[in-house]
């Protein structure tokens, strides 16, 4: 510590405008932090797997429903996995702010939106992995999926957009609440309550009339309808929402709803983060 400090001042290059290198750096950093916190990866997976593998078969047995019901619930649990995982990912934003390196990152010569996008990339990747695990486990448990190439595309696009939108919600909430405790207190209302209304365990037309209309307004309802259309080749959930004859039209309309949700919430997440980052 007593050696000569190296000369510090050299001409700096002009500020670079390429956002991909810093985005990759930030995403890599976030991934490393998440990988060192295995609970971030495992905890959100537990409840959906419990639903898919234990509760759905139990319901099937108790209610004497068909095998298809297991598939219905298995796909429905995707609607729990995505919100839970993205909301848990949002906790890392609070940890970063309270005891991590967020202030250092805010002092970096990069657009601050990159911090949100880097977190989103990792939350998206982890969620995708968890959905893959969930589906693989469900398949191993004997649940049958009826997947076509087109159906897979509907499923992937809808699931991706919903994940992006939910992460936007997580960033928005994380930027607005002062403490982790308050954030966690609000997670059930955002991640779990809509799941019960969105046709996860039963079709939405089984709900009381006004709740059916509420369900039709939820992006999750549209996502699950598209997931079931994609993975089970079952358009009935879309039909319960739109009541049209043309399935592709109904799927496209639902996709527009989910896409709008993704764009709105991501924009909100970036704006709220950027505004709260600068006092």
């Amino acid at each position: 510590m007593t050696a000569a400090t190296p000369e510090l001042v050299t001409p700096l290059p002009a500020i670079a405008r390429d956002p991909f290198r810093p985005l990759a750096t930030l995403a890599h950093r976030r991934f490393q932090l998440s990988a060192r916190t295995p609970r971030e990866l495992v905890v959100p997976l537990l409840t959906p797997i419990l639903f898919a593998l234990v509760i759905a078969p139990a319901l099937k047995q108790a209610l004497h429903t068909s095998t298809a019901y297991e598939a219905f619930v298995a796909t429905g649990t995707i609607g729990l996995l995505i919100p839970l995982n993205t909301m848990f990912a949002g906790i890392s934003v609070l940890v970063d702010r309270e005891s991590g390196a967020q202030r250092e990152l805010l002092a970096a010569p990069i657009p601050r939106a990159l911090l949100v996008l880097a977190n989103l990339i990792v939350a998206f990747a982890v969620t995708a992995l968890q959905i893959a695990v969930l589906l693989a486990v469900a398949r191993a448990r004997g649940i049958h999926f009826d997947v076509t190439t087109t159906g897979l595309v509907w499923f992937i696009v809808a699931g991706s957009m919903f994940t992006v939108g939910m992460y936007g919600a997580a960033e928005t909430l994380a930027a607005r609440v002062p403490r982790t405790e308050e954030y966690i207190g609000r997670v059930p209302a955002i991640a779990i309550v809509p799941w019960f209304l969105a046709g996860s365990l039963f079709p939405i037309n089984a709900l009381p009339g006004f709740l059916t209309w509420v369900a039709r307004l939820l992006p999750l309802t549209h996502t699950l309808a598209l997931v079931r259309y994609g993975l089970l080749n079952d358009p009935s959930s879309l039909d319960n929402i739109w009541g049209m004859h043309n399935t592709t039209t109904m799927a496209a309309l639902s996709l527009i709803v989910v896409a709008a949700f993704a764009v709105l919430l991501t924009t909100a997440g970036i704006r709220v983060f950027s505004r709260t980052a600068v006092r």
């Binding site: 510590m1 007593t2 050696a3 000569a4 400090t5 190296p6 000369e7 510090l8 001042v9 050299t10 700096l12 290059p13 500020i15 670079a16 290198r21 810093p22 750096t25 930030l26 950093r29 490393q32 932090l33 060192r36 916190t37 005891s99 991590g100 390196a101 967020q102 202030r103 250092e104 990152l105 805010l106 002092a107 970096a108 010569p109 990069i110 657009p111 980052a277 600068v278 006092r279």
Partner: protein, 314 residues
């Protein structure tokens, strides 16, 4: 001389009409170590926040190396680094990874970054620790790593925001050596905020005393002390100190720069001799519990300007 930091009537008012910084102006020359000295709540960190673009000024302007902190925020950030008051690190990552992330975000070329990290680790005594997670570092090691991190990108301007707060005396002394090393061996402009007088006196070429959002004095530590002359008399009085001070002024024993805090009166002597002054005080019937002469300190300067005890306030 080129100004690395130029601040013009910079002000910040928080919601609720809280005026944290009130139209302050100062310039810091390239290569200078400049101190912002003041107690907590004086406006030091808000000023640093505005200069590092994490706090938006309410009015006024500031430039870093010619870049406007509001209109050219990213450019401003590209030429500066910050060591924050409290640890701001990824504790589960290694020291090397923390430095590497900084290097990449500040766009230091990978080969140069690697050499630079090794060089700084060697300089700051971190080589053996560099591949360990930061959670295993002591407080002083963590602080040294944060300083190394700030230097990886070769900043034109380095902000040290109360870097020794909360450290034990041994680590604090160690860190002051590190910062003094930067001062002596580099030409980076350093803006240091502190409420420790010894830090300011040891490290700063010039310093601004900031009080309730306003700069109340700005000069070199020696020049600020010189305003009080070479010697002062300090007396603890039995009666009301303020009334006693007025009495001493009436008798011509105290000038306008004398001040009272609590039961203590401080009299800069200037041209007056100490023995005669003490004799005159005793002759004036002032009842004292202690009386002594000493050289003025920055604390005296601060007391005179603000009427508050710097260390106690901090």
């Amino acid at each position: 001389m080129e100004l690395a930091i130029e601040v013009n009537e910079l002000a910040k008012t928080y919601p609720g009409d809280v005026q944290a910084v009130k139209e302050i102006s100062f310039g810091v020359e390239a290569g200078e170590v400049f101190g912002l000295l003041g107690p907590n709540g004086a406006g030091k960190s808000t000023t640093v926040g505005m200069l590092t673009t994490t706090i938006l000024p309410s009015s006024g302007s500031a430039q870093l190396v010619g870049y406007d902190v509001v209109r050219q925020a990213r450019e401003t950030r590209s030429v500066s680094s910050v060591v924050f008051q409290e640890p701001v690190v990824d504790r589960s990552l290694s020291g090397r990874r923390n430095l590497d992330v900084h290097a990449r975000l500040w766009r230091v070329e990978p080969a140069e970054a690697k050499a630079r990290i090794d060089e700084l680790a060697n300089t700051l005594g971190l080589t053996a620790l560099l591949d360990r997670p930061l959670s295993t570092y002591s407080g002083g090691q963590q602080r040294r790593l944060e300083i190394a991190r700030a230097l990886v990108s070769r900043p034109r301007v380095l902000f040290l925001d109360e870097p020794t707060v909360g450290l034990d005396p041994r680590i604090r002394a160690e860190l002051l050596d590190v910062i003094a090393g930067l001062r002596d061996r580099t030409s980076t402009t350093i803006l240091l905020t502190t409420h420790y007088l010894d830090e300011a006196e040891r490290l700063c070429d010039r310093l601004a005393i900031i009080h309730e959002g306003t700069i109340v004095a700005l000069d070199s530590p020696a020049a600020l002390r010189a305003e009080l002359g070479e010697k002062i008399v300090e007396l603890r009085v039995c009666d009301n100190a303020q009334r006693t001070l007025e009495l001493l002024r009436e008798r011509g024993l105290a000038g306008e720069d004398a001040f009272a805090v609590g039961a203590t009166i401080t009299l800069p002597l200037h041209e007056r001799g100490a023995p005669e002054t003490i004799a005159a005080i005793e002759g004036a019937g002032v009842r004292t519990t202690a009386i002594a002469t000493r050289e003025p300190t920055l604390d005296d300067v601060y007391l005179r300007l603000t009427g508050g005890q710097l260390s106690a306030a901090a």
